[in-house]
Symmetry: C2
Subunit: 341 residues, 2 copies
DNA sequence: TACATAATTGAAAGCGCTTTGGATGCCCCG
DNA sequence: CGGGGCATCCAAAGCGCTTTCAATTATGTA
């Protein structure tokens, strides 16, 4: 069943039927009723591809999903998607997800953008000097970046959390508790948030004349295995750190396993603060020693970005181009005074 | 840049350029080279919506993502998607994901199917007597179901794991260890896998003349909170169960917290077997007491379904319509002999 | 009553691609 | 030398929708 058939059925022109369906004012109310009724009876749905072709709009937002055989799937991705979806469903928007090898992201994003079947793009996993930024700017499709790109002119639309501030505050708290030996378990070095979080830690330490030693920093994929490994390394240092900053509760999961295996007590021998993206599966309050965290909901960020993206496509009022969300510092039991030597 | 412009640039017809790009034989090799070269230089990409409209194919598979404000995002979904993606990326397929309220899934799936922008559908979260099945059959779009629908004629294409067998075997193991008081922590009652798993347990118990008491079964969303709650209930029963079957490692996570909080020891006071979907975040071997599990990779299932779906769309040879994967029963430390009273 | 104005509806062009059904020119063979 | 066969290429029709421009009818006004 297509428009033509439907209009023949009704004895109307395609024009009128199309207008009736899309809420144009110049169609008689009685006629519109008749059309709507026929739609209900026949189950007619407009062909989206045709609509897209004709209007240039399709009600979809595009994103690239990094994937590869053996590439560990990322819980954060799913959670973020849930946030996007929560908002999208309200506007009858859908997603076009292009799976792509992580090394091929720029090209994949480009393909997606000019494929002509998305109205807007969502971009994540930002890096320092991210090469996608200039490309996006040269295209003329709306987009919002989740995160920022260290080293790039901040003249693109983004939503980010104050990573530097979060880790600055967290470090300050640990300093106030008397800690002097710090370690940072971070995400992959090239990622923007990792750079900023590190900067936050370094800044706070510098105020006390402390430095963050190279061997007290780990950069790795944010998986629990990597957390375990990194913590094991830290614990073997001659001057073992007592204060750990951790970029994710996922990393913390492994890190804590290492702490336990070493027979140390969290919150006493070792204090740890993790960043909490509010993953349903990893509630800091449910850890055997509840975790002190810097918190910001990934899901909320997703919903907000969807809102901006969809709003832009629908031309529904202006949105702020740049948003920087503060994180909350929530103190629980995994932080305590520095152990007396 | 579109086909027309490109062909004018080359001094060729759109026909020839199109053919050159799509590998038709009737075009001169030299011409094809010239076209390919121009594509490289101009960065031309065919408009997918137009392609879709003209051919009816778009290289996309569609799925519905259940979502709602407050609806907890499902780790299983993300993991499955990763599996789909792993395969899709190899064939330059993408996904069209339609977020939908869980109550609206049938309609959403229908909209997606007849929207005309997907070539095939993937369907999950199957229920008993699933209403989507008759609808899918009446449409003429390829689809593969993950799971099955208890009570429906099994004449639709699916990939499922042998849930009944898995839980039958797991129960048998516990019986052999001398357990007699069983409990089952299951997923939502209406879901197909929950029905079958329960049947598996019941069948194994019946062979020993045992029955599964109503108050020893919980049906709930597969979150750790629900696992905690359910286990707390079980532990308060006058005849507390010593053997727990658990439909997910996520549920197990909460269940084990309850066990610990009750001061009981896993593998001694309480034996537990969980089904393991091989979630990267929840490795049974990494639990403080490693978990005995029935295992089947969700990700592998995703990849396989993508393979079948894409293969069907590309008419690449016949695929089996029905696949039933056996699970592995992997014994670790969470199971032990029934405690002597 | 005559004419401007508003309310409805339609015909047809166009979105960017694929594909059918010819053209065109060239080579080869009897 | 003439026509069949081949290799290439092209014009134009369509895919299903939206939208511009125009036509038709109904309404109101002088």
């Amino acid at each position: 069943m297509n428009l033509k058939q439907l209009s023949e059925l009704l004895g109307l022109s395609q024009t009128t039927v199309s207008r009736a369906l899309n809420g144009y004012p110049e169609v008689n109310e009685a006629t519109r009723e008749r059309v709507l009724q026929a739609v209900k009876e026949t189950g007619y749905r407009p062909n989206k591809a045709a609509q897209r072709l004709a209007t240039g709009k399709a009600g979809s937002i595009g994103l690239v999903m990094p994937t590869a055989p053996g590439h560990q799937s990322d819980v954060h991705f799913g959670e973020f998607l849930a946030g996007l979806g929560e908002e999208a469903v309200r506007h009858d928007f859908h997603f076009v997800i292009m799976p792509a090898d992580p090394d091929d992201e720029v090209a994949a994003l480009r393909r997606l953008a000019i494929s002509g079947n998305v109205d807007a793009l969502f971009v994540a996993y930002m890096r320092g000097h991210d090469p996608r930024l200039p490309m996006l700017k040269s295209l003329s499709i709306p987009y919002v970046v989740h995160g920022r790109s260290f080293g790039s002119e901040p003249d693109y639309p983004y939503l980010d959390i104050d990573n530097e501030g979060a880790f600055y505050d967290a470090t300050r708290l640990l300093l106030q508790l008397g800690h002097t030996r710090f370690a940072l378990m971070n995400g992959p070095m090239h990622l923007d948030f990792a750079i900023r979080r590190r900067n936050g830690v370094v800044a706070a330490l510098a105020e006390r004349g402390l430095a963050l030693e190279e061997d007290c920093v780990s950069h790795a994929l944010m998986t629990d295995e990597q957390g375990l490994l990194a913590m094991e390394q830290f614990l073997q240092l001659p001057q073992r750190p007592t204060a750990i900053l951790c970029s994710s509760t996922v990393l913390a999961l492994g890190a804590i396993r290492a702490v336990n295996q070493a027979g140390l007590r969290l919150g006493e021998d070792i204090s740890l603060i993790a960043h909490d993206d509010v993953l349903p599966l990893l509630k800091p309050e449910n850890f055997s020693v509840p975790l002190t965290t810097t918190r910001s909901s990934l899901r909320a960020a997703g919903a907000r970005i969807a809102q901006r993206l969809i709003g832009t496509v629908k031309q529904a009022g202006p949105f702020p181009d740049q948003e920087l969300w503060k994180t909350e510092l929530i103190v629980r039991a995994s932080t305590g005074p520095a152990p007396q030597v």
